[in-house]
């Protein structure tokens, strides 16, 4: 079995199993957690709507904070849009998803994906430098932050290298890229990257709670 056969076969299979099982385990484990009974009288009965609204509202920074968080806001958006384009709009990636779910959609030309990949890598580097140079941010960072950064960065770099024929032969580089994706999948349920799912119930719950108390979320 070649490295590529291993990557496309057992490595991806186990990574997907761990990711799917782990994400559902963590999602429902957190969702059904025991919470203290609320004894106060609710000040609003529109808590569900407030929860849904907060999921979207929290995607933008309030004007009062916008100046101080401008750097993070811009880089954050570039990073997430970049990841969206690279992961979900590159045709071989769409084919990968189609192979598992049966779903597919139109992709973008390779040069657009290449630009998005380079931009995303650049932003990730900038964010790491910021994390390591700002005293407060450095103090509140733990291993999870750095591991999550690394496993996100690795598929971008290896994918670009495979595409641009940099490094080992294409089939080896493709195998390394797929293995790096497998590593990312395995890490997702166990680290902060789980925010890709948990941000929804987390924001919704916060919005609903604040609404109940009658305060701005």
């Amino acid at each position: 079995m070649t490295l590529l056969d291993f990557a496309r076969g057992p490595a991806l299979q186990w990574a997907l199993i761990i990711m799917v099982a782990g994400m559902l385990w963590r999602f429902f484990g957190v969702l059904l957690l025991m919470r203290g009974k609320v004894l106060s009288k609710p000040r609003s009965d529109k808590t569900v709507w407030a929860g849904i609204r907060t999921v979207f509202k929290r995607s933008w920074v309030p004007p009062v904070m916008s100046k101080r968080t401008q750097y993070q806001l811009v880089t954050g958006y570039v990073l997430h849009i970049g990841l969206f384009v690279v992961i979900l709009l590159f045709v071989p990636h769409i084919e990968f998803i189609k192979g598992i779910t049966g779903l597919s959609w139109p992709g973008l030309p390779n040069n657009v994906i290449t630009v998005a990949t380079v931009l995303t890598i650049g932003v990730l580097v900038a964010l790491l430098i910021r994390r390591m140079t700002q005293p407060v941010l450095r103090a509140i960072s733990n291993a999870d932050d750095y591991i999550s950064w690394f496993v996100t960065m690795l598929p971008l770099v290896t994918g670009l290298m495979a595409f641009a024929h940099i490094g080992p032969r294409y089939e080896t580089m493709l195998a390394i890229h797929i293995l790096s994706v497998a590593l990312l999948m395995v890490w997702i349920p166990f680290g902060k990257l789980m925010h890709m799912v948990l941000f929804i119930p987390s924001r919704a719950q916060l919005g609903a709670k604040f609404e109940r108390r009658g305060v701005e979320a």
């Binding site: 079995m1 070649t2 590529l4 056969d5 496309r8 076969g9 057992p10 991806l12 299979q13 997907l16 199993i17 761990i18 799917v20 099982a21 782990g22 994400m23 559902l24 385990w25 963590r26 999602f27 429902f28 484990g29 969702l31 059904l32 957690l33 025991m34 045709v91 071989p92 990636h93 084919e95 990968f96 189609k98 192979g99 598992i100 779910t101 049966g102 992709g107 973008l108 030309p109 390779n110 040069n111 024929h165 294409y170 089939e171 493709l174």
Partner: protein
């Protein structure tokens, strides 16, 4: 044909013109990535080379490799060059049969000991010697006996080079390749199912010209022919870059000649000269005729996922397996949460 003739004399006897011969030399030098200045040297060497004795052994194979060579395009200069070697033993092409055929092989081995070329097509079964025999001799015994006095071994076709189709899972005959068995001779792998005729003759021409085997890659293939992958030389590559793909064999993309990646083309991980040398006298090649590359010059190409499965898809993952993983994750998550609630309740009651 007299064995003492040179290749040049043999070709002239068959009516090949000087121009035709030089054209072949220039093409061969170009395919071997040699400088144009080397063409006269190739011509001189080929002209003066004594016709080497070649013993061709066919084991677990379909004769496609021989068909490829002999029916490539009649008559090609490559075919004539092939005629100009002293092919002393070949099941399909020789007139002799039975004992006379085997005697011809033994005679050639005896007369040219240490000098003859051994060409093998087909894999060798090890599970049971009776699976494939020639004149009552097992493939393994015949290969080892014949290889002993050979100057070099050329494994023609993916079966001889890497085990090929007979070795495909579950490999019922215990098929192995030539290089799995022979360790003390130079081996040139010319894989393909079948290999390109010009590549087989090119390797022979290289041996006749330089008296050495060509530079090989990590899988024992001549780099001159197997140095770049199909994808990098494919005329449909611009469509890949533009994100234009055929999704079925009869859609608009297929009619417009767009990239066949979505239809399972293995061109990006397949090294061969198809895109440049082409087939049938340069007429076409699989991708040009509308079918993706199946990766036939790579080891274990039968067992690397479906031929029509895109390269980026996982080969083992199924919806059922992932559904089971999701159910397990859900059960454990809910179970853990309920256990937590139970403990919490118990702790509250104990406090009371």
């Amino acid at each position: 044909m007299t064995r003492d003739l040179t290749v040049g004399e043999a070709l002239r006897q068959q009516g090949v013109s000087r121009r035709g011969f030089l054209k072949f030399c220039a093409t061969t030098a170009s395919m071997m990535a040699l400088s144009p200045a080397m063409v006269p040297a190739v011509a001189r060497a080929l002209e003066q080379a004594r016709r080497p004795s070649v013993i061709w052994l066919s084991f677990q194979e379909c004769t496609g490799c021989t068909e490829s060579l002999t029916r490539s395009h009649a008559p090609t200069i490559e075919g004539l060059i092939f005629d100009s070697i002293s092919l002393d033993y070949h099941h399909t092409l020789q007139a002799a049969s039975g004992d006379a055929a085997e005697k011809a092989r033994e005679q050639a081995m005896h007369d040219n000991h240490g000098k003859y070329l051994l060409v093998v097509d087909g894999s060798i079964p090890l599970a049971n010697p009776g699976y494939s025999t020639i004149a009552g001799i097992s493939n393994l015994d015949m290969l080892m006996e014949t290889a002993e006095g050979a100057a070099a071994v050329i494994a023609v076709g993916t079966c001889a080079a890497y085990g090929g189709l007979p070795q495909a899972n579950p490999n019922p005959t215990g098929a192995v390749s030539v290089m799995d068995l022979i360790k003390d001779k130079p081996i040139i792998n010319v894989p393909g199912c079948p290999p390109i005729p010009a590549v087989i003759t090119g390797v022979l021409a290289h041996y006749l010209t330089f008296g050495t085997i060509p530079e090989l890659d990590h899988l024992g293939r001549p780099k001159a022919y197997f140095g770049t992958n199909i994808h990098d030389r494919c005329y449909r590559r611009p469509f890949y870059e533009r994100g234009e793909f055929a999704s079925t064999f009869d859609d608009e993309g297929a009619r417009k000649g767009w990239c066949l990646y979505k239809l399972g083309c293995k061109g990006p991980v397949t090294y061969n000269a198809c895109a440049t040398a082409k087939w049938n006298g340069g007429t076409s090649w699989p991708v040009e005729s509308g079918h993706g590359c199946i990766g036939c010059s790579e080891p274990a190409f039968w067992d690397r996922g479906g031929f029509y499965q895109p390269l980026s898809q996982a080969t083992m993952t199924s919806g059922t397996v992932l559904g089971a993983a999701a159910a397990a994750g859900l059960a454990v998550g809910v179970g853990a949460a309920l256990m937590g609630r139970g403990k919490h309740k118990q702790a509250q009651e104990e406090q009371k």
